[in-house]
Symmetry: C2
Amino acid sequence: MKAVELIEKKRNSRKLNKKELTFFVNGFLEGVIPNYQMSAFLMAVTINGFSDQEAKVFTDVLIKSGRQLSFGEKLVDKHSTGGVGDKTTLIIAPIAAALGMKMVKMSGRGLGHTGGTADKLAAIKGMQLILSPAEIKKSLEEIGVCLLQQSADIAPADKLIYQLRDVTATTNSIPLIASSIMSKKVASGSKILVIDIKVGRGAFIKTKKQGLELARLLKKIGRHYRLKVICVLSRMDEPLGINVGNGLEVMEALSFLNGNYDKKLYDLVMELTSQLLKQERKVSYQVACQQIEEVLNNGKALNSFFEIIENQGGEVRNIKISKQTLLINSPKSGFVKKIDAFKIGKLVQQLGAGRLEVNDEISLGVGVVLHKKEGDYIKKGDPLLKVYFDNIKPASKEFLSCYQFSVQKVKEKKVVIAIV
Amino acid sequence: MKAVELIEKKRNSRKLNKKELTFFVNGFLEGVIPNYQMSAFLMAVTINGFSDQEAKVFTDVLIKSGRQLSFGEKLVDKHSTGGVGDKTTLIIAPIAAALGMKMVKMSGRGLGHTGGTADKLAAIKGMQLILSPAEIKKSLEEIGVCLLQQSADIAPADKLIYQLRDVTATTNSIPLIASSIMSKKVASGSKILVIDIKVGRGAFIKTKKQGLELARLLKKIGRHYRLKVICVLSRMDEPLGINVGNGLEVMEALSFLNGNYDKKLYDLVMELTSQLLKQERKVSYQVACQQIEEVLNNGKALNSFFEIIENQGGEVRNIKISKQTLLINSPKSGFVKKIDAFKIGKLVQQLGAGRLEVNDEISLGVGVVLHKKEGDYIKKGDPLLKVYFDNIKPASKEFLSCYQFSVQKVKEKKVVIAIV
């Protein structure tokens, strides 16, 4: 078998079998197949696609490139395809713990204009994101949840391929996205998985149609591994919630668990968590929602948040927030019609919250607080947003260019688009 | 400008402008854009194509990556897209010299299953394939023709890109083929160029339709540089002529100029050379054919062959031919229906005539002599072909698998398919 012949086959839209995909991925992992052949292959897949069978086999090859963990039959998990201001993991994890669910959540770092939960957790002083298998087991028994960074020995082939996709414009392939997510989730031993598929101008997936196609494939691959997958398509046009930036998002999660929340963030958290609970506990959607509201109202979820952080050495009273701020007032009176999540994400990244190169040090305290969200009314001169910064001074003009205003009232759009 | 954004544009079938293509190719040449980004880009071009404008601009960028030569206003040239047993350059060059045409022919080495003229010339002992500009000028004045290997400073970006295309299944893209050929020909100063577009199972171009599309684009790019391009589509199903292999093909060229020739090889040589002469001398096709026949019959072309070789230090009586031979007889009586040029090319390459890696030493003396060609009748047990070999012993069975026989007479197919 020759690498160039397999690339040629995919270039011609022909299907590759298990032997061929195994040869290609393993050859790449072993360094026999160079980067430039893998990237040509990935481009051919991105343009010509994979059949469901190929996507399943590709996932399997990625899984088998590393370790496979197992922490119990009811391990729940959640995943987001990436958005701006998405701190749902920081809220759902303590709710899950408060409800007695078991979760070993592995998270990645920020990518492009989107944030990553591992970076957000790093804004908490002392927080350890790597635990030994024994420590994970102990955490599950005592607290129920631990929050980790993606382990290097889980699907290492996916990690290498992902780095290449990021720089070769092959990130938007539905089958490559699906196999990347599922390989990590299957290998880390999840049994019930809710996936938040972000759709919109601030997301990698731009249309509902693509989102539904991704959901279909994710569920299909899940069935193959007896991993129950529920997909929630959610709108990612404006940033999710109020705060964007690593430390700032931890603060918002804390505030949420204290009872102060943005309505859309609340709706999404409820949807994602109730889907997990329904499956884990075999209760109705209504009962699930009631149970979640209970642990939010009685302080148990907040308490779990402290437990999870402290269990991993984090100091909850020591969260990185930049000292310098710039308050930007509204240039006109009217309703906020649009806040461009993609642009906000890029600007926050440029403040230092995101990496341009893999090994960049990032500014964990920078970001923005959005005083008004889509649909809100604002008077000219009133505070629109506040920017937190370190060394790089923000330009008001650039932030204001993310906004559109309207004299008419703006129709409210629900955050949850579909559940599959 | 970012490389990944340009790759993304081409992935989405959008057009790239001059600034973008220049940035990408020059970035690659300077090592700022790595192989893996170039190969993803090349795959996107191979699948999604280039507009004519993009192909023209891409050619221009390749030309400007190196030196541009100029040896006079009527410099003729010929190019073949690559076939098996194609020794036409070795025959056309001396005919051109005998007729007083001027030609600085730069040739490449063998690629895949096809041979390369530079390798064929290397089978002549002492033959120097690199001449200084002053030596080239002197050769043009005294003999009219010199045969060189592709110069390293002509379109160096094309050379680097070509090496990558060869291992990433991106060799069959019409616009990439066209810009690769034209960049070298324009940069080396050709003014009248005949291109032999090989079509068929032994060629990179498989269908007449693709061949015509390539011809159209080659001519269009040529017009842009005032380089007159004539394309001849020729059949490459069975090997061209009788001998396949480096030294063996030089022998066949010599034999041809001595008056012993295979009919189809003769037809193709006449077509290619008369197209050049028609343009260079502004004579009719008939007059051109007469003039060519004259120098073939009166020995002037043969004499030019000796002059060209000796001018570059070659010893015409010292051509590498392997000493060991294997005669393979026909397993049945009947008409030869098919000789698979691709398979023959592969088998001769495996005997040592072609490279598997860029720096491989090759066996210049190995190859085959085909005693019967398509349409010929043969009796069981009569000699079908003779294999010349060095260290690697040929298997009769493999060579016989290249043949198909028929009890019925086989309809003759003309070698020239179309002239554009």
